[in-house]
Every structure is written in structure tokens, then in C-alpha cells.
């Protein structure tokens, strides 16, 4: 056990956990940030995606001790009151069904547009292919990203 002072959504948050505990569970079970989801536990589905210094990571396979001073952004910190252009575009396209994978989808998409503000469809697909959605909302995810890319939000 060790105390880690994490930087999460612009705040300092401290957890006293085993160093190898995946960030996912520190967020969900110790910091009350349940917007980050567990689904596979082996970094194969993307539901647990958060940003670490702007890079999408799978928090189910990232230990707390490895995060260090990095700035973590979870869905709760993506915007104040859902105002991020991607969140608004997600609503404009009525993208979501059950919604479970979408915190991860949104953060992955945010990282994409940060790096590449005008991705092609192939580039969108390449970047988003690790984020699975069982409800099958992929086409709307693509459309919502396109909406932001084109400034239609």
C-alpha cells in the first residue's frame, strides 16, 4: 500500500492503494469517479479509456504507480456540464444507446481531434477501432466526430 497524489480533472486526489492497482479501480472504487467503465480488464475494448496528459490510455491496464505526475482526464472532467463540442455532437447525432462504452469513445475521439483536427474516415476508423460498442453505434460515432471536425456544432 502506498499513497499516491494523482492529478485528476485539474484537482489533486489522493489514494492509498496497492501500487499495481489499475487506475480504473482507483478511480471507480476509491475516488468515486464511476464514469470510467470496466468491461474487459485486458485493454481490449476501450470502455475504461481516460486521457493521460492528453493521450488515451486503457485505465484497466495502467497501474496507479505508473501515472506519476501525469494529468488524468476522465469523462467527469471532459467539460463542465457536457459542453465539450464532442459531447454536444454526440447528442446532436443521438449517438448513444446503452451508453456504457461512450465515456471511453468520447475521450478517445477527443484525443484524435486534438492530434488531427481534420481526420479522414479511414483515420477516424483507425483511431477508434479499439473502442468496442455492442449496441452498434459506430456510424453515429463517425458522424458526430465529423460534425465537430467540420465545425457544425
Amino acid at each position: 500500500m502506498a499513497v499516491f497524489n494523482l492529478r485528476v480533472n485539474g484537482e489533486r486526489m489522493s489514494v492509498d492503494v496497492a501500487p499495481e492497482m489499475p487506475l480504473l479501480w482507483a478511480l471507480r472504487d476509491h475516488l468515486g469517479l464511476t464514469g470510467t467503465k470496466y468491461s474487459c480488464g485486458i485493454a481490449f475494448c476501450g470502455s475504461c479509456t481516460v486521457l493521460l496528459d492528453g493521450e488515451p490510455i486503457r485505465s484497466c491496464a495502467t497501474s496507479v504507480e505508473s501515472v506519476g505526475e501525469g494529468e488524468i482526464t476522465t469523462i467527469e472532467g471532459m467539460s463542465k456540464d457536457g459542453g465539450h463540442p464532442l459531447q454536444r455532437a454526440w447528442l446532436a447525432e443521438q449517438t448513444v444507446q446503452c451508453g456504457y462504452c461512450h465515456p471511453g469513445q468520447l475521450l478517445q475521439a477527443a484525443a484524435l481531434l486534438e492530434k488531427n483536427p481534420h481526420p479522414s474516415d479511414d483515420e477516424i476508423d483507425e483511431y477508434m477501432a479499439g473502442n468496442l460498442c455492442r449496441c452498434g453505434t459506430y456510424l453515429r460515432i463517425r458522424k458526430a466526430i465529423r460534425r465537430v471536425e467540420e465545425g457544425r456544432i
Binding site: 489499475p22 479501480w25 464511476t34 467503465k37 481490449f44 476522465t74 469523462i75 443521438q94 451508453g99 455492442r134
Partner: protein, 703 residues
Amino acid sequence: MKAKDLSRRDFVKTTGAVGAGLLIGFHIPWLQGCAGAAQLPAEGGMQPNAWIRIDPAGFVHVVYDDHEMGQGSSTGFLMMVCDELEADWSKIVWEPVPTDPSNWVRGISTGGSTTIRLGWAPLRNAAAQAREVLREAAALRWEVDGSECVAKEHQITHASSGRSLGYGELAEEAATLHVPDDPPKKSHEDYWLIGHSTDRLDLPDKVTGKTEFGMDLRLPGMLFASVSRPPAYQGGIRSFDDSAARAVHGVVDVFEVEGGIAVVARDTWSAFKGREALEVDWDPGPFADQSSETLKARGRALAGQPGDVQREEGDFAGGIAQAAQVVDASYDTHFLDHVPMETLNATAWVRGDRVEVWCPTQAATSGQRMAARIAGVPEENVVFNSMLAGGGFGRRLNSDDTEFAVKVAMKVDAPVQVVWTREDTFAHGFYRPYTHQTMRAGLDAEGWPVAWLHRIYGQPPRGTTTGGAANPPYTLPNFLCDNHLEDWGIPIGPWRSVGNTQTCFAVESFMDECAHAAGVDPLVYKRRLMEDADPRLLNCVSMVAERAEWGREMGERQGQGIAAWTCFGSWGAMVAEVTVAPEGTVKVDRVVAVMDHGIIVNPEAVRSQVEGAIVLALTATLKAEVHIEKGAAVESNFHNHPLLTIREMPSVEVHFVESTEVPGGVGEPPIPPPPPAVCNAIFAATGVRIRELPVDKELLKIS
């Protein structure tokens, strides 16, 4: 008033003043035999199981009992109330599912694509009742004739005097008036919300992470648990050593419950770690020799023997004897897991003879019963909180999530959340059943069917395995559908579209084979045979052929395939276009769908359901399978059970038939057509017939 305060014991009258405005109670029928629906005694009769309440502030509270798991029906349900009531959409309040199902008139269970279609008539009637008594109340207050008063935009207006009163202001008075049984309902052309795409109410919180799914529940002092269960079905525990598990930091207890070993910890991860540290000698159970291969062999062995007749019309043997040509083929579909993204979970808190459960479920009634049975308390002692679910697809109709949560909670002095790993969720599924389907058709000299056999080998219950086979949408003389159903001890259950997904694959593929045997274009062949049998499906087929430009020129190793099906009160036809790579990889380029759902309440939400159904069905066509070996599931996580990704998405075009017929089901009807449409397209592209799912690309390689 919270939804849980409303029950038939509290409200013997269907309407009346409760000191809180106008209350209209009504009855939503319950689809008997709906998969997973719990049976309730008939005493409920026509007593109310849903309410519209207009409070003095003018808010319209709608209490009903269906679960939201992403299908969007909650929004559609409220749209029907709002339109018929002439209410303000911003004042409609969606109440939670009741927490005491034992005190409810119908079994609370969401499945069978029923929410909108069963709600359609009673819901609009109740909303019209409310509207009419509000109008009457205004007329009385103004001492004018009711016919001079108009309900619109959440108020009653008297046009000639220019007076108006809001619904909230009239609610108390309206509650004292006689409610007409069958008030006039709006006509189709007057709907301003029904049929107009409306943003789903559940989505804003889903894009900010605020939505609380079952696994997101956090209670003061709660603990977390993981349960290790025998890998083989009906296996057991011979012995176990928990010393290493207990040494894991954060683990607070380890104990055996019926059917597993529970590790309880301060957080989920510690529970998982402790559970991994268990050393268990498992009893392989009675089905240790069972495998997918043994089932396939058994299915083949029985293919030539008559089974239990499911439906027979005419004389199949006589028809075959007269046929100019006989076509034979058999098809296999494998076990499939539902794979909801939120793994199964439930939280339970047992205090003396009181139990509280929080579960993302499709079946609150059976969940409550399960909790009561496990804990040995009366059902009414169980408060059952239905949480939003991260996908269901039929998996959450089984109450094994609640079962294990209560088993563990009974031995813990705190609320405890039992979280299934993805591996647990695969290993202990209630799968879409395996089937071996034998098809035989006799064709006359022109190639038209004069005899038809559909024989299904699978597992009981019959509906789950064979649904749809007995009534294909074609005119088929001398028809015989029979079954060999054997219990293999592998848990099966309703999987989105229940039976139809397997049987449509066989029927629609085989019909394509018959068309080719007859030398007739499959579209022409199918159209002619459904002309009399299913005119609404014929219309979908004709439309989809046009929209997809059926018969258009395709490139090398490219092809089009068509499939159509009728189920859950809706009709659907799809054309798939594929490209098959030289190494056998199938790329689905385009899917064009035409759906006839009758009246569509919320078009954009329905479109989204159809798109998503196509994705789920393509995963079943190209990727997914659960193998059984040694009586246990082989697939365990997404590394060996992939799902379709965004990269593999075809272009998808969804068209709706304009209709004023009553609404049909939405969630399930678009599931059956894609697999046969894709396989028929593969045949058109390569000449290779796919008769087993998922598609084996080895068969399609150019050698």
C-alpha cells in the same frame, strides 16, 4: 410521490384525487409467453399497472414498469403520452421502475420488443382520458360547453372568451370528475410528436458520465466481491485453499456459497486479485465430455430421423415423391453470448429479514423472487431497485446476477456489490442455442416448391431454439417442421430475436439455394412465394430491391444477397453487398434495410436501433461464436471473441415503410436478416455456399 408508493394495494380506484393532482390509472397488457417474463396469477386482471399523474405544478408523471437498457423505448413511451395529452414535452417526468414487483399487477419484465407496441393503445387512451377530464374541468369552471374548450400546449383554452388555464391549475378539479372509458383519440394526421424524431431523455447524462449504471452504485460502507464458479456447467467444488487469497491486501473474507467461492474485499480489484489467488480443485460435473463437436455429430446423426412435429400442413412425403427435383442442405449455428458491455453485476444488502437489491436487469419480478427465495424472506421484504443497464439483449432476463449478490450479501454485514469479470460473463452465459438445421425441398418442373422440410436439432425450450421456423413468410405446400430437442445441460436463453436469428438464417439461405436450383433470380423467387403469404414483407422486399439497385453490376468477387423476415410484429428486408478477398476475408460493403414497423413513434431512435441491430448481427455472421469443450465455454474475453469494430462497418442505409398501422416491435426484428443476406451475397460473389456461422474464411480462399 415516488413510483414505489404506487401499487394496486394503495390504489383500488383507477382514478381520483390523491391530494396531489389528477391520477389516471390504466392497464398495459402483458405478452403471455414473452421470453423471460415471470408468470403472475390472474388476479391482477385489468387492474392498473401504469399511471399518469398531473401534479398541481403541472408536471406530468408517467409511472410504468419497463426497463431502459439503451433501446430508447422510455422516450417513445412518454412521447405517446405527451402527444395524446397535448402536453408540454418539457413537463413530462419519467419515473423509475417500481421497487416492489410483488405488489404489481403484471410481471415486470422487458423483452420481446414489446414496450411501445403493448403500450400504444392503453397509453393513448389514458392520456386522452386525462385530457378530456381537464377539458371538462375548465368548462365547468367557466360555465361553458366542453366542446368550446380546446386542449393544446399544456392548457385548456376557451377561444371565444380568450381564457385559458394550465393543466396544473385544473388537475385537482379534474380529479373529481367522471372519467370516460373510451374518449376520442387523436387521428394520425394530428400527431405533432408521435412520428417526429425527439431527443432521447436518457442521453445527456450518458455523455457526461453522470448516468449511474448498476455497477456504478456506491453506498457508504459497501464492499465488493468476486465469485469463482466451476468452469464446467453444473460442475462443483471438491476442495479449495484460500490462504493466498486471504493474504491479498484489501480482502476481508473468503467463503463458499452455493455454486461458488466468494472473495469479499474493500474494492473490486482486490476481490479479483484474491479470487485469482484461490486454489480450487473443481469437480468437472456431469457434462465434462460435452463439446460443440459432439453436439454437431449428434445433430447430424438425427438429421434423417423424424422429430417431434412443430407444424405440419399437407403431406410432405407425398410432395417429395412428386417433385421433379429435390434440394438438400443443412445449416449450423453456434452458441452465442449476448456480451453486454457492462458485465453482469448486482448489489445486495441483507439486514435481518429485509433485503435490498440494486441490479441492472430486464426482469425485476424474477429478480425480486430470486432474492426472496435465496434469502428465505417474503417477496415484499425485498426492495428491488432496477438500475440502468449497459446493454441487455436478453441476457439480463435471467436473475443469476441477483442470485449471487444475495448469496454473498447474506454472509456480509454491509452492502456488497458482486461484479462479474468479463471471463465470468462469458463462462456463465445463457447463450443463443446451438442448432443443426436440416432443410429439404421438393421442386416442381418449373422449380417451385411442392414440399418443404425444416428439421431442427437443438436444446429445449422449443421457442428459444426454433422460434420462427414453423411459420416462414412463404407459401409452401406440404410443409413439415419438426424438432429433435435434447437437454445438454448448457444454459441457453433468449438472445435478441429469440430463435428467429437461427431459423431465418437457414430458411433464407435455403430459399436462395432453391432459387438457384430453379434457375430463377432469388429476388423474383422469394417475391412470388411471399405474394400471398406475407404481403407486407413483399412490400419491404420490393422496396429494398429498388433502393439497393438489385442486380446492378458488381466487381470481381463481389455480390449482392437478399433476406427478409417477419417477427415481433414487424417486417424487414435487407440487401447486403460484399467483397470477398482472395485470402477469404469477407468485407461487407453495404447493407440496405427496409423496415415496416407500422407507426414509428420516434424515428431517429428506431433508426439507431436498426443500425445497431445490423452491427450485432454482422458480428454474429462474421466473428462470434462460443465453443464448448469439456462442458465449458472456450471463449473468455474479447481477444478470442472479437466484436465488429468501427473499421469493419459497411455503409448502412435504413428506410422505413410509411404506415398508419399499429406499432410493431423494433429491437429484435432487424436482427435475423443480415446473416443470410451476407451469406447469399458471398454465394453471388464466389459460388461458395456458407452453411455454418460464423463464416469460415478458409472456405472462401482462392487456392
